[in-house]
């Protein structure tokens, strides 16, 4: 059972939305410089918990994430690298919002870093439109996966 505390600030949140067999981590808001340190810490904690729980796949929902700077992307790079080089790799399935144009461009290099670990799934248009709003808690389908 995962016990991730997550992050909640005025402009950003990372929450464990589902602690089941395929955990879901949901990010929202603005991933700027003030978020880098807590995000890095939280992703390290998440990795340790996922390895301890022998999880095979985790979903990262970016539907309501407005922006992520390069330092926050680097926190993801460190996490992905750790998964790629660990003895118990698991899949990271990143759900991106096609309405947030930066997401696909920004995430594809992460997939190229570890194509066997990172999968990009486009959120369905109906949900993407809802998720782009700041207060959305909608859940829904994703369109087919993209991987290397």
């Amino acid at each position: 059972m995962l016990r991730l505390l997550g992050i909640r600030t005025e402009g950003f949140a990372l929450v464990l939305a589902d602690a089941g067999a395929v955990p879901v981590v949901r990010l929202s808001g603005n991933g700027d410089g003030e978020v880098v340190a807590p995000l890095d810490r939280t992703l390290k904690q998440l990795h340790d918990e996922l390895v301890d729980a022998s999880v095979r796949s985790v979903v990262v929902d970016l539907g309501a994430l407005y922006f992520m700077n390069s330092s926050c992307l680097k926190a993801f790079v460190s996490w992905i690298y750790k998964v790629r080089t660990s003895g118990k790799p698991y899949q990271i399935r990143i759900q991106y919002n096609p309405n947030q144009r930066w997401q696909q461009r920004g995430l594809e290099p992460l997939q190229r870093l570890a194509p066997a670990v990172v999968f990009l799934d486009e959120i369905a248009a109906s949900r993407a439109a809802t998720a782009s709003g700041p207060a959305s808690t909608a859940s829904g389908q994703v369109n087919g996966g993209r991987n290397g």
């Binding site: 402009g11 700077n69 390069s70 680097k74 947030q100 144009r101 992460l110 190229r112 870093l113």
Partner: protein, 174 residues
């Protein structure tokens, strides 16, 4: 395009611009990036350009907040027109240390010389992946997203210039 409040020069016409003088501090970074995003969204109505310049403004302003050695920096975003073609330019100026200037010039030269900026960005990601507390990806990210980069160094002042050609102007928006 929205109404310009342009300035005419001998070489080009400055159709639309914003100039901002600001105190380099992390708490202003997101707001300044949003200003650039609003400028692009309102003036250009091109979502791809808007999101790429929002990202570029965020990365550049964040670097300024980290590395400036004076209490004043400058950001300028403008659309210029010349003989029917348009150019979007984001320009930042700040003062910084000699050590930083040496480091950033080395990176900028590497970015300018890169035949494949996306491949260079991938390489930097791979190289920095095992390193703790090191990012250094911001400038490479801007270049990898297809934006052209230029820079000038004068004394301790660093000017960074990010540009993107735009399609010719269409009919005026009411």
């Amino acid at each position: 395009m929205v109404d310009g409040c342009g300035e005419s020069g001998a070489a080009s016409h400055r159709a639309l611009f914003v100039q901002l003088s600001f105190c380099p501090t992390p708490s202003l970074v997101s707001g300044i990036a949003r200003l650039v995003s609003d400028f692009c969204r309102t003036g250009l109505r091109d979502l791809d350009v808007t999101t790429r310049f929002h990202m570029a403004a965020h990365e550049l302003t964040e670097n300024i907040a980290k590395y400036s050695t004076s209490s004043r920096a400058m950001l300028e975003i403008e659309v210029t027109e010349f003989e029917g073609s348009r150019l979007l330019t984001l320009r930042t100026k700040n003062h910084t240390s000699q050590d930083r200037l040496v480091e950033v010039e080395k990176r900028l030269k590497e970015l300018q010389d890169a035949v494949d900026p996306a491949q260079l960005y991938d390489r930097l990601i791979e190289e920095t992946a095992p390193l703790e507390g090191v990012s250094g990806l911001g400038l490479a990210r801007i270049r990898a997203e297809g934006l052209s980069f230029n820079y000038q160094i004068s004394g301790d002042e660093l000017t960074l210039i990010v540009q993107e050609p735009l399609p010719p102007p269409t009919s005026r928006v009411a």
